[in-house]
Symmetry: C2
Subunit: 287 residues, 2 copies
């Protein structure tokens, strides 16, 4: 993965450059014998109605298991992120107390469902009552809360986790991470997936976490990861996840917009929290 | 290990209570068939010339390998801490770039020597020029610096680690941890041994580390540990360390004081940095 200097895992967008994104598409012309017209493919390429993409950057997808856009979410990068971060970095045990922030996001909603599948108790935080309802009623979270309605996150976590937190799947960083560290259990694991509260500032302006000493006294592991580290386990990942899909154990929610002009709104919704589910944009003919 | 609520791994001293410490002593009377008068033992018990200690809290030590006080340092808790933190949590590879803070301390001086034994390049920080000299000339560190003489730790680490840092053995926390995270390599490991810069404040007054996002972008593992987690590997530890001692590969330095009245000075020296080596107090007859 490309690495920028400010701790982000993706280079910043540049003015006057084409924006790239995880995408699925249909081959309409091919100069590569590995791909035929009509193939459905996924890759990380430019956001546009038509794109010329080197074959090495594309993968054919199996639409008998899931619909094409599922390869952006339910079986795509967010899912590999949820699966690798939760099961490999998080090392869940049955009975573990699991907290997920940004739980209604494209990764979080899968982490919660994986936690239930692994026999854990899971609570999620999200930024609207509608998302909280979704977590509890659609995705089977044991509980969930709207972080915008809670004035004291330390106290909220103490209330939702009377037995403390064993795994914190961190999507937000900052003050929520600090609140978690005040409610953390011995030998807890904290997979660091992202810190969306911290992206759009210069590092010296970011929130300083004051209670890292709790990591020492409680022997906690906090580990950053990216799904790109686990590409070699893609086979295992797809087998496990498609198994759950066939058993009806995994649900997913997309927030679908149409047309190239909706990109900015869809992108910004991840920061404002206005999205409900994984933002997906349909380009080309209406579905 | 007992766990206090403020993230410390030892309960705070209480007024009007006897202070306890890692100790070695000679048995002068025994009501336990497992111990005979004259046995040399180690344990964690009260700081006094004579102490009554339950047999379960004591371990006989082998003075043919090392002198009694070595079981407080070179083969004691600091050594198990250095060994388990560096080799198990730190996962060193030959060629790794290793940074140790409080490197002239009872744990740090062993971490640096273990790093050299494992084929790493190691740089230490310490709080006086005398300690820096000790690290380079006695303990074989590749380089060392006096953190009190450096005004910009980010820049200092960039200078000492042009190839970045693969393992940071953290004894101090706070601002130095932040500087390290600005110089950290992909997939680095940070065993959190202690955060001596942060102990004597209420948590909200502690230094807030602002660049934890680097843990995400660089897939870094940061893990708190205590040597008590690794007591089951004591046999392996003793075998490896006594091997190095016999081969002349490990040195140790004690800062010896005499008499009970020197306790306060010896203890405080760990915070002021006035000690040169592991603080040890001889009680009883002069050695």
């Amino acid at each position: 993965m490309k690495q920028s200097d400010d701790g982000l895992y993706m280079p910043s967008f540049q003015l006057n450059q084409v924006i790239r994104s995880a995408s699925v598409g249909k081959v309409v012309a091919s100069a590569n014998p590995a791909f035929e017209v009509g193939d459905i493919v996924s890759g990380f390429y430019q956001v546009s109605e038509y794109a010329i993409v080197p074959g090495g950057g594309l993968r054919k997808i199996d639409t008998s298991v899931a619909k094409p856009s599922d390869y952006l979410g339910l079986l795509g990068m967010p899912a590999l992120t949820a699966w690798s971060g939760f099961t490999i970095v998080g090392e869940p045990n049955p009975g573990d107390e699991v907290f997920v922030s940004a739980a209604a996001g494209s990764v979080g909603m899968l982490v919660g469902q994986l936690a239930k599948i692994k026999g854990c108790r899971v609570v999620g935080s999200a930024g609207s009552d509608q998302k909280v309802k979704l977590l509890k009623e659609e995705f089977g979270f044991d509980d969930a809360f709207n972080y915008k309605s809670e004035t004291d996150w330390d106290a909220a976590l103490a209330r939702y986790f009377p037995r403390g937190i064993d795994i914190y799947f961190d999507n937000v960083g900052g003050r929520m991470l600090e609140a978690v560290l005040n409610n953390i259990n011995m030998k807890a694991r904290i997979p660091l997936c992202g810190m969306i509260s911290q992206y759009n500032q210069e590092w010296k302006q970011r929130f300083g976490v004051r209670n890292l000493l709790n990591l020492v006294g409680k022997c906690v592991k906090m580990e950053g990861f990216m799904c790109g580290q686990y590409l070699h386990r893609m086979g295992e990942f797809l087998e496990e996840m498609t198994g759950y899909i066939k058993e009806g154990k995994l649900k997913y929610k997309e927030d679908v917009k149409e047309g190239l002009d909706s990109f900015l709104e869809a992108f910004n919704s991840m920061f404002s929290g206005d999205n409900l589910g994984k933002p997906v944009i349909y380009l080309g003919p209406p579905q």
